[in-house]
């Protein structure tokens, strides 16, 4: 489904990004894998067994994003798909949220998507087609106590997605995925009791597998969603109606 398509995935070294890279590789995409962990990216590159390029980039840094795209443009003039997956989880009550931490969360979770979309959309416009997929969160829809800053950063992605879907139309589609709790390293800090409660509250009675989120990303990346833009797809097993 992605033969001859160039796909850029941020946060590709682990979790949802890594699973998405594997899913896209199965569909024959040319992969541009972005992350901060060279060894993890190298391992992934070996595992997927198709030609791909890896880039070390801290997406919270605008200058590094610019340098990333300068490198990418030396490899390809075409870019078909961008998965803005890189993000950090931040858990702290509002009164204990420091300005520097808030800025770091927004730099990674929001500004990175703005800048990557700025550069990527220009490449997509030369071919007059493209799909941008932003990874938000159900917390960006419902909010969550002790996660106000993280939730706000993910909510801002939803507003950005809906606005860009209009602004970049008709050539570029922009959609978002809002995962619920996914079985990745991000939930390592969660207590077993909390995990149990969350699973019980989730209608599907379990956490999402990374591969399940990756498949929903694949949906937005392919022509299966060719008439969908500005959409936010919850991949949460029905969790969204309760507070996390």
């Amino acid at each position: 489904m992605l033969q001859d398509k160039w796909a850029l995935i941020t946060g590709a070294s682990r979790g949802i990004g890594r699973a998405t890279a594997k899913e896209f590789a199965l569909q024959g995409a040319h992969l541009l894998l972005v992350g901060r962990d060279f060894e993890a990216l190298k391992t992934l590159q070996e595992e997927i067994k198709i030609p791909s390029n890896i880039f070390i980039c801290d997406v919270s840094n605008e200058q590094e994003i610019k340098e990333l795209f300068l490198k990418i443009r030396k490899i390809t003039k075409v870019l078909d798909i961008v998965v803005n997956n890189a993000g950090i989880l931040y858990s702290a009550p509002l009164l204990m949220s420091k300005r520097e931490d808030i800025e770091k969360v927004f730099a990674t979770n929001f500004y990175s998507v703005v800048h990557i979309s700025q550069y990527a959309s220009r490449m997509m416009l030369t071919k007059k087609q493209g799909s941008i997929i932003n990874i938000s969160s159900v917390m960006g829809i419902n909010g969550a106590s002790a996660h106000s800053i993280y939730s706000a950063s993910k909510a801002s992605l939803i507003a950005l997605t809906k606005s860009l879907a209009r602004e970049l139309s008709p050539h570029i589609r922009v959609n978002a995925i809002a995962p619920g709790v996914v079985d990745t390293s991000l939930i390592n800090g969660m207590s077993e009791e909390k995990k149990k409660v969350l699973k019980e509250r989730t209608p599907l009675q379990r956490f999402a597998k990374e591969s399940e989120v990756a498949k929903s990303i694949l949906f937005f990346a392919t022509d299966m969603s060719s008439f969908i833009t500005g959409e936010v797809l919850r991949v949460d097993g029905g969790l969204c109606s309760i507070e996390i």
């Binding site: 795209f69 700025q118 959309s121 220009r122 602004e167």
Partner: protein
């Protein structure tokens, strides 16, 4: 360089080449609105193999200014 830049304007804005003069200004013709500006930036970056800074994208308010900006990048 000027001819190449002119071609980029013609292609991106879908206008006749006679219209592309130093006096051609952003938002003064229907064909060069904010949406077309994005296509123009994409076309210029593609043709000259450069990557423009956001400040320069905002500053590119006329053909004359575009020449000045692209020249700056080519001399880098």
């Amino acid at each position: 360089m000027e001819e190449k830049l002119k071609e980029a304007f013609v292609e991106a804005l879908m206008i006749e080449s006679e219209l592309v003069k130093d006096t051609l200004k952003y938002n003064e013709i229907d064909a060069w609105d904010s949406v077309a500006h994005m296509s123009l930036i994409a076309e210029i970056e593609d043709r000259f193999e450069i990557m423009l800074d956001t400040d320069d994208i905002i500053d590119m308010s006329s053909f004359a200014k575009a020449k000045e900006i692209v020249t700056k990048y080519l001399e880098k």
